[in-house]
Amino acid sequence: MFRNSYDNDSVTYSPTGRLFQVEYALEAIKQGSAVVGLVSKTHAVVVALKRNAEELGSYQKKIIKVDNHLGVALAGLAPDARVLSNFLRQQAMSSQMVYKRPLAVSRAVYAIADKAQGNTQQYGRRPYGVGLLIIGHDEAGPHLYEFLPSGSALEYRGAAIGARSQAARTYLEKKFDTFPDLSLEELIVEGLNALRDTLAQDKELTLKNTSIAYVGKDTPFTLLDDDKVVDWLAKLDGVSRKSNPRPTGGEEAAEGTTTEGEPAAAGTTAAATDAPADAAPDADTMDTTE
């Protein structure tokens, strides 16, 4: 029944020095849809791909604001992310209340990393089943951190977690040298480019399934969804999806990416894509496995 006898709790090592429950938790992250984060000298950005569990349901929220200078994007078990982000909100408010200053991003990250590590050491607990990309801005500038249930918390210039995120990482690794000097707008477009590389072949970024958030000096944390991402999707160029090109012809691909989410893979509706936001839900091809 069990894969092995060393995965019944999160505190017992296998003879080869592994903590299986922690590794399973890391697998849970890969079940979640992808999120991508990146930083320039001035801003930090996360973009996320939302899923809806079923046709009639809403899309799972992927980005949570913590404070005016801080937010998280999640991949994995959303309830665990809620617990962590609620904790972070308390920490941020406490910092504001006691010291009258925003919570430093590194402090926020290490606070939840310590909680996650505790779960790998105390019997009767389970690791969080969620990975987070944390973006924020503090006295030291913009930051992007990756939080994992193992308790690891590392700072990145670009990072991606979740399903098929390797494709986004490949994109980021190719381009990260340019990130520091990008404007906020260029940074967001690069994030969307990376996110688009994680899509399955019959999928597109649409206003329904895309979330964008950014923060910087004098730029409070801002979360864009639905109608507000349309303009950003329009900035994507249709041919840059190199690592995972769509099967249809190049012309249609270019138009299909710009507006709402009728799957362009159907290949016949390019003329109808200027339909406004209240068009029919685009989800008939959405994956429903999260």
Binding site: V98, R101, A104, R107, E139
Partner: protein
């Protein structure tokens, strides 16, 4: 005293009666009524502070009085916290020492897990202190102090604020606690009558006025001494000068005072 080797050092029974062990039978402190501070015991007097164009000067004398007794004449009442803040404390000295330990702990915690992304500025320390004082007054067990926090804030602007045993806070370009609020503040306000006046005050002017204030306080505040510490905080620099004597004292007026001292008639 008992001289026999067995009970050596004990009180002799024939003189003092049998040794009473009542003290060891006394009820422990948990069953006694909890007592809150009703008045300060050993006290420091005024703390004064004034902003100038590039920073803040804070000064306090070094006397700790036990009632009207000048009990300790070398009490440091100015404490540096972080690298741009001075906390000057008047009122109960034991409460001051407790607060100094809290501030030390705050600084250690700040440095412990901080990768340098953030530092403690004056307004952060002041806000923390105001919560401590308001928390204790809300427990009806106040820390019996009046505190000035002076330094440079996160925008590199001079910072000067006051918090007291009630948790009341306020800011001004010139502040003074205790008797200084009556004797020194009017003098300091000659330099900085309006909130922005400090921008036209040089360090030398502010310093001269502080020295004048400390002398006036020594003349007229009976719980003061003519030895004081001065802290000058500017951006990136905290300078503490200890044991400065009041200069150019003039006691000629004392000759004419009748009714006490050597001229009782």
């Amino acid at each position: 005293m008992e001289q026999s080797p067995i009970n050596w050092g004990r009180p002799r029974d024939d003189i003092y009666g049998h040794y009473s062990d009542a003290i060891s039978q006394a009820p422990n402190t948990h069953s006694l009524p909890k007592k809150h501070t009703q008045q300060p015991t050993v006290t420091g007097s005024s703390v004064i502070g004034i902003k100038f164009d590039k920073g803040v000067i804070v000064a306090a004398d070094t006397l700790a009085s036990y009632g009207s007794l000048a009990r300790f004449d070398n009490m440091d009442r100015l404490t540096q916290v972080g690298d741009s803040t001075i906390v000057g404390i008047g009122g109960d000295v034991s409460d001051m020492q407790y607060v100094q330990r809290l501030l030390e702990e705050l600084e250690i915690e700040e440095n412990y897990d901080n990768s340098g992304d953030q530092s403690l500025h004056s307004e952060n320390i002041f806000n923390y202190l105001s919560k401590v004082y308001y928390n204790r007054r809300s427990k009806m067990d106040p820390l019996w102090n009046a505190v000035l926090v002076g330094g440079v804030d996160s925008k590199d602007e001079p910072f000067l604020s006051h918090v007291d045993l009630l948790g009341v806070t306020f800011s001004s370009p010139a502040l003074a606690t205790g008797f200084g609020a009556y004797l020194a503040l009017p003098l300091l306000r000659q330099l900085v009558p309006y909130p922005d006046s400090y921008k036209n005050v040089t360090e030398a002017d502010a310093r001269a006025m502080v020295e004048k204030c400390m002398k006036v306080l020594f003349y007229r505040d009976a719980r003061s001494i003519d030895k004081y510490d001065v802290a000058t905080i500017t951006k990136g620099n905290v300078k503490i000068e200890k044991d400065i004597k009041c200069k150019d004292q003039n006691w000629r007026f004392a000759e004419d005072i009748r009714g006490y001292g050597r001229t009782t008639s």
